[in-house]
Amino acid sequence: MEQVPVSEDYKFGFNDGDIGILKLDKGLNEAIVREISRIKEEPEWMTEFRVKAYHHFVNTPMQNWGADLSHLDFESIRYYVKPSERAEHSWEDVPTEIKDTFEKLGIPEAEQKFLAGVSTQYESEVVYHSIHKELEDKGVIFLDTDSALREHPDLFKKYFAKLIPYTDNKFSALNTAVWSGGSFIYVPKGVKLDQPLQSYFRINSENMGQFERTLIIVDEGADVHYVEGCTAPTYSTDSLHSAVVEIYVEKGGRCRYTTIQNWSNNVYNLVTKRALCEEAASMEWIDGNIGSKVTMKYPAVVLKGDYSKGTTISIAVASAGQHQDAGAKMIHLGRNTASTIISKSIARNGGNVTYRGLVEHGAKAIGAKSNIECDTIIMDEISKSDTIPFNKIKNGLSTLEHEAKVSKVSEEQLFYLMSRGLSEEKATEMIVMGFIEPFARELPMEYAVELNQLMKMEMEGSIG
């Protein structure tokens, strides 16, 4: 009944050839880790830190829960590629080939003027980086993480790997050993940014892992919205994306982190994301997982300060051959902390989607409140879905509400829409778009439009 829709090819069907200038051999050993650090001219402590993390990675067994990672071959991955000698600062200097790809991705040059700052990651290194003057005047630091290590060593060392140590899990160890690129943001006290900061990440070389490291520090009373968008061209062999994102939100600060992840269907997307909220701080993860072969991603918020607030709004769409194992974690430590999780999952064309989450109210998190809502639509008979939430309450004065639904596209709704003259395909699309609306409305306008296009392409061919 199902045929591979034409759109599956079209979606990522461009490939700019290989433009990387410097490449290391495939596979990983201590020498390669040291070589990466040497090429980047890093300080001694970072080199040693990478090596320590590498040894921890080697000695940590693969986890036996969640998605199937048995086909992941660490030896066939190239851990570092440098596309050009230095990070470009003006648009004119950016190679035409890279510009072409952006063109296909739909980022017009004119968008610069609209965006507050663009740090575009193309292959492991940042090649284009522009900061609006206004940002610089406000004292906001928005750099790629490598430059931040060079230019702000003290600030960097104070926060780096403190929230997610390399001992956290196997993939945080791997990332710490071979990290390259990513964004570094520091928003000073009381600075509120109206425009979101954006960055495009791309994997373009075959078998090239991308291990970006993002560090965001939102100082007291500051406010920032960071947007990370990922797209990748189709390749036939397995590729690995293993990022680490650490966010510190100081007293009264607010951070929103928006991701639309759309890796091609051969990418293992294994990401560790964690934020720490001080008193009355607020952290919001807006997380969309559409592409990739396997996703394991559970954005976490540690609500340390009293009256702090954590929110995760996510969607996951799993199609043929995909396993989206995503969810959220909320760790309440402070009093009167609040968290909300809204998760919408869609499984179609034989996809497998899992919601896996943890909400924990510590013994001192008196008056904590949590609301969890996870809904799933299974679109056809070959797809499946699991919902695995853990809710732990360690004090008697907090409240938790959890609700979940799993269903197919409602036949009554379909019937109604079709009775009003819509085709089955159009009606299904409308129902699905309505289903993910709580996520879509949180996105900046241009991303919402992009998501709409993506979802429409995803849904094409889903009616037999």
Partner: protein, 350 residues
Amino acid sequence: MNMLPEQLQTYLGPDAQHALVIGEEGLQFNNTPLTVNTLGDTTHTNQAYFQQVMQRTVQPLTTYRPADDTLVIELAAEVVVEQPLHVIYVHHEAVFRRHVLFVAQPFSEAKIIEHHIIADAHQPMLIEQTLEVIVRDEAKLEYASFDAFAEMAQLQMSRFGIVERSATLTWSLGSFSSGDTQTENITQLVGAGATCQSTLMTIGMGEQKQTHLVRIDQLAPYTSGVITNHGVMRERSQGNFDGIGFIEKGAHQANAQQESRFMVLDDQAKATTNPILLIDEYDVTAGHAASVGRVDEETLYYLQSRGLSNHEANALVTLGFLMPLIETVSDERLREKLLHVIETKVSQHV
């Protein structure tokens, strides 16, 4: 037909018509349509069911150890019993493992009420009981079991069910003992149109740990599995509900619903609820709701403004929280008894 000892007669009340007592003195029957055999003496069909669910279940919570005693209790085909059937276990030994296979043959209907009586309440005890209930085609079985032991007794109850075509199995379980309690209740709906409804209520007190796992596997189309767990945690007790609803591929038009709720009355009490849905089929409806919360301050304030003490108000709210589950018990006498047990439990101070 043996007569029941006077003590048990009083325990069950004058209305009790059918009873089966399993104790040290062997079996005592009182006008019961049940037949009891050892495993070796029962029919081959019944023997084939022995340990069937347990072996198919992926991860039993407790490792199965050979029982000291294995019994096969059978309700014959097409026998319909209106009045509740009391099955009474009298425990004498300090450590006892029993395995019971209960078979409700096709088209039979009955309400079973399971009782556990401890001969000497002052002696430490470990009771491990494994129960397998087979509900065959078109049969209807209600299985109620409530325990309220003193602190000395440790309980490990494993209950398994197989429900065949168009048959119904209703579990009404209550865990009101004062010692640490661990139970698992795993039911497989193997025939089309099979239904299982499982309700479990518990009150945790003192330093007690309560762990309950309820799982319904839906392996056939048109099946319905409904899990309802309500727990009240007092003082420094810890409660844990694991609810799992699994729908296998091909079990179309299946319905899996789950509700796991904890009410926490004291600051030090802890509660964990893990409502898990594993869905491999698309033409289904499934949902779960879970909550952990304390008593609504406004409700407490209102009740106290009407003259109730804080303690009485808490007790009343607890009762209200468990009431929807108590109401699912069809036998009126058992409902009254349950209310009494819960009232005693909530008015206790430790």
